[in-house]
């Protein structure tokens, strides 16, 4: 399988995934009990007013027509209007996407920067103090919910370190440093569990690589142990980790939703929970779609990365 075929296959797959997500989201949201028109008007209303609103919202149409209409609008980037506020959904989402994506991105970076080197050290120093220490920390990472890490951070850091805020979000255009400080703790809360997962994967992957014949060959060539490890081992060890790193991004995205609430940050998570409570269908749809879209996009990037580090895909042929 050549590079082009592989990428094409992955891209088609992503499109199907998105289509599936869109359909599921539509079906799921429409099966939420409770009539949004009634909810909007609240209390006692006469049937005529209710029907009028339902017609206005298109809720009286057959479901499949609603679906295709929605799909067509979706393709033009129109996610509809919020039932509550009447504002365009896309606008509301974009307004609050900043903090969520910032936290997710920084959380990911923190996880990668800590987990990959630690995993390598742990594998190289297997059964030594460095290994026990880092596997223990990683174990705690995968055993705590992100939002609770957030709560502990608020209690420990928030009370003692004044320069790091524990509430709210500062947009990046108010300065890099305030922005960075406002997302530091939430990002850490989100990144720690992800880092724990990555570190454990990196360790076991590197342990397998260390036993490979080509590593012995590299030593038999007279290369220094650092060269053997980083020139011959690293890339091989990263190949399986990269694939799983994409899939476990779900941990980061899932974590952000709850962590935002801990830190009182108005992001996608709060928007989503709020809109579920208010049965604001278009807003729920839009938010879920955006998060799913980010996830699919991130996995496409991971796929590209994977093809870059795995020559078996880049240069097909062989077995």
């Amino acid at each position: 399988m050549g590079l082009r075929e592989y990428l094409l296959k992955r891209l088609v797959h992503s499109v199907f995934v998105m289509l599936f997500v869109v359909t599921v989201v539509f079906a799921a949201v429409r099966s939420i009990p409770g009539d949004p028109a009634r909810l909007m008007l609240g209390g006692d209303v006469d049937t005529a007013t209710l029907e009028a609103l339902r017609a206005e919202l298109g809720l009286n149409q057959p479901l499949y027509i609603q679906y295709f209409r929605w799909l067509r609008r979706l393709l033009t980037g129109d996610l509809g209007e919020s039932i509550r506020t009447g504002e365009p959904v896309l606008g509301s989402i974009v307004q609050v996407a900043g903090p969520t994506l910032s936290i997710a991105a920084l959380g990911m970076v923190i996880a990668l920067v800590i987990a990959i080197p630690t995993g390598i050290i742990s594998a190289v120093k297997r059964y030594e103090i460095e290994d026990y220490l880092s596997t223990t920390i990683a174990f705690f990472g995968i055993s705590m919910p992100a939002f609770w890490i957030g709560i502990v951070l608020v209690l420990v850091i928030g009370v003692n370190v004044e320069s790091i805020p524990t509430f709210g979000y500062t947009p990046i255009d108010e300065g890099i440093s305030p922005w960075f400080r406002s997302i530091l703790l939430p990002s850490f809360a989100v990144g720690f569990p992800y880092g724990g997962i990555l570190m454990r994967m990196m360790r076991s992957s590197m342990l397998e690589v260390l036993n490979e014949d080509y590593m012995r060959t590299a030593r038999a060539k007279g290369l220094s142990s650092n060269l053997v490890l980083f020139k011959h081992g690293l890339q091989n060890a990263l190949i399986p980790v990269v694939t799983l790193a994409g899939i476990f991004l779900a941990v980061v995205l899932g974590g952000v939703v709850a962590v935002e609430i801990v830190f009182g940050i108005r992001g996608l998570g709060r928007l989503l929970i709020g809109s579920i409570n208010r049965r604001d269908f278009p807003l729920i749809q839009g938010t879920v779609l955006l998060i799913a879209f980010v996830f699919v996009l991130a996995n496409i990037v991971v796929d590209l990365l994977y093809t870059m580090i795995n020559p078996r895909i880049k240069y097909g042929g062989g077995d």
Binding site: H13, S14, F16, V17, F20, V21, V24, V25, A28, V29, S31, I32, P33, F139, F140, I142, S143, M144, P145, A146, F147, W148, I151, V152, V154, L155, R200, M201, S204, S205, E208, I239, P240, V241, L244, I247, L249, A250, L253, G254, G255, V257, A258, I261, V262, L272, I273, I276, N277, I284, V288, I291, A292, F295, V296, N299, R312
Partner: protein
Amino acid sequence: MSSRFDTEGGRIFGVRTDLVEQFVNTVRRDLKAKIGVVIVTLFLLAAIFAPELAPYDPMAQDFAPLQAPALSSETPLGTDSFGRDLLSRLMYGARISLGVGLGAVLFGAITGVLLGLVAGFYGGWVDDLLMRSVDVMWAFPWLLIAIMLVSIFGQGVWNVIIAVGFAYIDDFARITRGEVLSIREEEYMLAAESVGLGDLEIIFEEVFPNTVAPIIVQFTVLVARAMLAEATLSFLGLGVKPSTPTWGSLLGQGRDFITQAWWISILPGVLIMITVLGINLFGDALRDAFDVREVDSE
């Protein structure tokens, strides 16, 4: 040992007895495994016998609100904002948290294993259809699935179990299918077929017992993750009904009083952490015992 443990094929309920033996040996050798087993057993017992062990009714508002933990007092772990005994609430909470965790993974496992067995065994378009659907689930953040499902079906124990467990179907389907495919290549499947065993018989007699080790390992790992998921859902107010004590909901309620009464959110969090840690240790021990790889290259 009773006769049930000494069936002719060396299997208990389809599980090879050598797996049990391997596990016991690992626990004997490995300190981590011992800690895991102790924690898991302790918390399971506390959850099962909560009605007998808990000092008070978890719903009774009998005490002064927001009392700090003091081991000598009537309420050793303090009280919540309604004056309910936190120790009792945590013990009852363990029932829901562990129950939902186990139940969710059981749901995912049964569904996933069945799908995987069918897909791997029949192959062809059945395989394509099932595995493509499962692939799509892989590409979907689990929390969204759970949030959507809970908002559709409403809150409640069973709904949360299904909502959380839904995300695990693909894991089990994938493992089972992979094992089935590799086992199909082996000679004894041919032998079984030539002896004239039917499809179902082959699946249950030959295929299932061999997929058991990786499935048990995955099961354990996912129970840990399911408990974290349940906690997150409850924390977001999307879990079991807010009045029911679960570790996640206790934690969520405590958040409003974090500055006056830190213990309400810290204690349930510590319990979640210890339990999940124990289950993860247990899972690692199983993985070592059964020699299941953590990372599959390609």
